[in-house]
């Protein structure tokens, strides 16, 4: 017992002394900034061990594609590739747990870009390569892969946004244009609307963006800190709040994005292409895919907005500059037209490559067609503090069937007053 006490005292003392000495540095001095004008190396032949993370649905395909890359280069590279399954949503958190033992090449969803970049898990792309990436891919996809003016990831898909799935036996093509009609028809049929609008900022923002709300955050690329914001939710959010109230009062909304209950309990699901297979299985011939509907408030009609979303491939900074070069080349290859088309054929992923997205098969896919039709109402996701999403979700979830206009005003005030504090988040 005595030993334990002594040990504890020693450790407490040591921790106090250590913590008492406060050292504060400017951690953000970058003495050797990345020079992206250098061309990629050509003399990078050799043997490399490369670890890749991608979704399990394209695991085998990715192995095949990297093998094709190897044989294309005619023995220049001897690659030992280890492809591991990792969903795009988890890639960032797993990467950040231990960058040094994370994958060299990994797929991730665009909203993780700033987190990965700040933590140093993403290598910038050289300018020569960046030029071709920019010209090959959709503008939104390129923006999504850009941080602080530098391209730091390769766009892989442009299908990470959401649109409307509906049951053709409940709703016809003119019904789906208006939310009020959808609510009335669903109510009559006893079917629900699967829509995370009251639970998730990614979906909640769709109503607000429709009425002209936006939230733009300026960021200091060196530190990754948010320096300021321009936010119009308080100014333009009132019609959206009223429309949300109508939706809330209908008691039809289920807070999920699942499509497997279509035809059973639900007639409408707001979801993305990742749920297409489940929707097709649930509804078969009755499956309809459409852009988001409109809502009418005070006599004015607003088309519900959405976010366009992209999946990206990132390359981790490497200690060996030759390996860095090879990894960039592989990532570039994996995101070219051919590989994106193969991914569409295998897993139904919508290409971000312009040429690939114009192929007939892609245009004929109903989900991707609905996304394309929604594109003019969709917004790119800007860099914003992680807690901003909670702030929007909180705003929409506070809407109750019996809320008054004064309540809405108050909610928008609270939302607005929270913004300043989010900057340090």
């Amino acid at each position: 017992m005595k030993h334990k006490k002594l040990l504890f005292v020693l450790l407490t003392l040591s921790s106090l002394t250590l913590s008492g000495c406060t050292f504060k540095f400017d951690y953000n001095v970058d003495p050797y900034p990345f020079d992206d004008t250098l061309p990629d190396e050509d003399d990078d032949e050799g043997e490399y061990n490369i670890k890749v993370w991608c979704d399990k649905s394209i695991l085998t395909l990715t192995q095949t594609q990297i093998a094709a890359f190897e044989s294309l280069n005619g023995g220049k590279y001897k690659l030992t590739v280890n492809v591991e399954p990792e969903s795009e949503g988890d890639a960032a958190s797993d990467m950040l747990q231990d960058v040094q033992s994370g994958a060299d090449i990994f797929c991730f969803a665009q909203d993780q870009l700033s987190r990965l970049k700040i933590a140093g898990a993403l290598m910038d792309i050289t300018s020569t390569m960046a030029d071709s990436v920019k010209s090959d891919n959709m503008k939104g996809a390129v923006n999504a892969a850009t941080y602080g003016g530098n391209l730091c990831a390769f766009p892989m898909t442009s299908d990470n946004g959401y649109f409307m799935y509906y049951d053709k036996s409940v709703l016809n093509e003119s019904d789906i244009l208006n939310m009020d009609t959808i609510i009335a028809k669903c109510k009559a049929a006893g079917k629900r609307i699967n829509y995370k609008v009251f639970a998730d900022g990614f979906y909640a923002a769709s109503y607000f963006m429709a009425t002209g709300c936006y939230s733009k955050w300026s960021i200091d690329p060196a530190t990754g800190n948010f320096t300021g914001y321009e936010d119009t939710y308080k100014a333009n959010g009132m019609p959206a709040m009223k429309a949300l109230q109508k939706l809330k009062a209908s008691d039809l909304v289920s807070p999920n994005d699942q499509t497997n209950k279509l035809g059973d309990t639900a007639a409408v699901a707001i979801s993305g292409i990742w749920n297409y297979a489940a929707a097709k299985q649930a509804l078969g011939e009755n499956l309809g895919c459409a852009p988001m509907p409109s809502f009418i408030v005070d006599g004015q009609s607003y088309h519900i907005s959405s976010y366009s979303g992209f999946k990206l491939i990132g390359v981790k900074p490497q200690t060996d500059s030759k390996k860095a070069s090879v990894c960039r080349k592989i990532a570039r290859y994996l995101t070219n037209q051919q590989c994106q088309t193969e991914r569409f054929n295998e897993a139904g992923w919508g290409p971000s490559n312009i040429a690939a997205s114009k192929e007939q098969a892609v245009l004929d896919q109903p989900g991707l067609a609905a996304l394309a039709a929604q594109a003019e109402f969709a917004n790119e996701q800007n860099m914003c503090p992680g807690s901003w999403w909670s702030n929007v979700a909180t705003l929409s979830s506070s809407v109750k069937a019996d809320s008054t206009e004064a309540d809405f005003k108050n909610f928008l005030e609270i939302y607005d007053s929270n913004l300043e504090g989010l900057k340090d988040d």
Partner: protein, 501 residues
């Protein structure tokens, strides 16, 4: 200080007077409590000082009076043992010293040296113009191995001291002309006299690596700037003293008012722990009493039905229940089929709070029923018989016989389940995920059913805010420790049984 009165005088008091007496007594004892605490702390430091003084005195005296073998042992550990023929012990001491030196040269020295700063800015990872990187100091590893090294140094000091003590004892044994223990004796002792040490060696090492080291590491993280902007290996983090604690306790305007968020979550955590513990306890006891009652048929059947819910892993039943209470779940479908309006169980803050407590009752009752059944059957039946003869009502029997008995036996259980509920991650996280969001909460990052532990989880996993998560971890410990100590001193079980009877 109010006058102490005898038990007999106390019994003469009326109800109100008894309460007033207890109330006054409680507050009059507070100064004494702090006085005693002060004395205890003073004594502890006095003993500690004396201990260190005696330790040093022994060391110096042993050096002065010891022979040359002992003196050399101060530098070369185990030398004295080897020179006196205890080869095995000597080699073990020497081996440990060599291991320590090698460790310090290879890893320890580096990490210990960097522990003061956790890496300077010029030691950070640099990116070359061609995009490749040269990894610099990894603050995380420095902190982890630095702590390990400190433990290692403590272990060395302990072993070194043991080695000196060994010399002293051996000199004494030789002076007394007795026989020194041989290697054979030592080996035999490992499986005989010192068998407890052999058995405990592996568990102790396990506890050290998997419990102690992480706890100290986590405590230290609370004093650093480790968050998403200071993430190794690309960025460094450093010591910031008590900045993180002051962040948690500073009142600030806007969405990052951690003080208010902490207060709100702490309040709900305590409310939740209170209801989750006591609703389960009393309802579980009631169910057990119902089933135990004479005249109830199929006792085993009822118990089996209740126990069935334990047979399913808790996280599965929790996830399933969450789905049942969704707006399109089975409960709302049932309400709709009766013509009612659906109830948004998870969407309304107060409804969600009540729902988690009610669901927790459903999960907890079977356990409590099992625990209390056995105890209830052990209450001597003659107590009830004589109570019946004296004309006691069922409520009197319950409140004067059953409840005191139960509280006496299950007091410690109540305490552990209270602290367990404060950290009940499963029920909250699987049912609501901390939600729903409430615009009236101070921070939009947490929901209205978030406990401190789920808040900590969100901070660490979603926001990578490790420093604040560590601070909250420490706060949770402090809150739980204080509550436990108070309650532990109040429950009857800590007094002896005669007093209870």
């Amino acid at each position: 200080m109010i006058a102490e009165i005898t038990g007999l005088d106390y019994l003469k008091l009326k109800k109100g007077q008894r309460f007033a007496y207890k109330f006054k007594r409680f507050f009059s004892l507070i100064p004494t409590f702090f006085k005693n605490l002060g004395i205890k702390i003073g004594l502890f430091f006095k003993n500690l000082g004396l201990g260190i003084y005696h330790w040093f005195k022994d060391l110096v005296l042993t050096f002065i009076h010891g022979d040359w073998k002992t003196k050399v042992s101060y530098i070369i550990m185990g030398f004295g043992s080897i020179a006196r023929g205890q080869i095995l012990r000597g080699i073990l001491f020497l081996g440990f010293e060599i291991l320590f030196i090698v460790y310090m040269i290879m890893w320890g020295g580096y990490h210990l040296g960097k522990l003061g700063s956790l890496g300077m800015y010029y030691e950070a990872t640099i990116t070359n113009p061609d995009g490749s990187v040269v990894y610099g100091v990894n603050s995380f590893n420095v902190l982890l191995y630095g702590v390990l090294t400190i433990f290692f140094i403590i272990a060395l000091i302990y072993t070194w001291n043991l080695n000196i003590k060994q010399n002293r004892i051996n000199e004494q044994i030789i002076a007394d002309e007795k026989r020194l223990a041989t290697a054979k004796d030592d080996l035999r002792a490992v499986v005989d006299k010192d068998f407890h040490k052999t058995l405990l060696a592996l568990p102790s090492i396990g506890i050290f690596i998997f419990t102690l080291l992480p706890i100290f590491f986590m405590i230290l993280v609370a004093f650093t700037s480790y968050d998403k902007n200071h993430m190794p290996p690309m960025n460094l983090f450093g010591w910031v003293g008590f900045d993180n604690f002051s962040q948690l306790f500073t009142w600030s305007a806007g969405g990052n008012n951690f003080a208010m968020t902490f207060g709100q979550i702490l309040l709900w955590t305590i409310v939740w722990a209170f209801f989750a513990t006591f609703t389960n306890y009393f309802l579980g006891m009631m169910v057990a009493m119902l089933i135990n009652k004479k005249g109830i048929k199929f006792k085993k059947l009822w118990r089996t039905i209740l126990v069935l819910s334990i047979a399913i892993p808790q996280f599965i039943s929790l996830l399933y229940i969450r789905e049942m209470f969704q707006t399109d779940g089975i409960i709302n479908n049932f309400i709709a089929s009766l013509g009612g309006k659906p109830i948004d169980f998870w969407g309304d803050p107060w409804l969600a709070r009540i729902t988690v407590i009610v669901i927790n009752i459903w999960i907890g009752i079977p356990y409590l029923m099992l625990v209390t059944t056995g105890i209830l059957m052990n209450i001597p039946a003659d107590l009830y018989e004589s109570a019946n003869i004296d004309g006691a009502s069922p409520w009197q029997q319950y409140s004067k016989i059953t409840l005191p008995y139960m509280l006496f036996v299950t007091g410690p259980y109540l305490l552990t389940s209270f602290t367990g509920n404060m950290n009940n991650f499963n029920v909250i996280y699987l049912l609501t995920g901390g939600g729903p969001k409430d615009i009236n909460m101070a921070s939009s990052a947490n929901g209205s059913t978030d406990l401190l532990i789920t808040w900590l989880f969100n901070l660490a996993v979603s926001n990578s805010d490790y420093k604040l998560a560590a601070v909250i971890g420490i706060m949770v410990f402090i809150v739980v420790a204080i509550l436990s100590l108070i309650v532990y001193n109040l429950i009857p079980s800590t007094r002896n049984e005669e007093e209870f009877q």
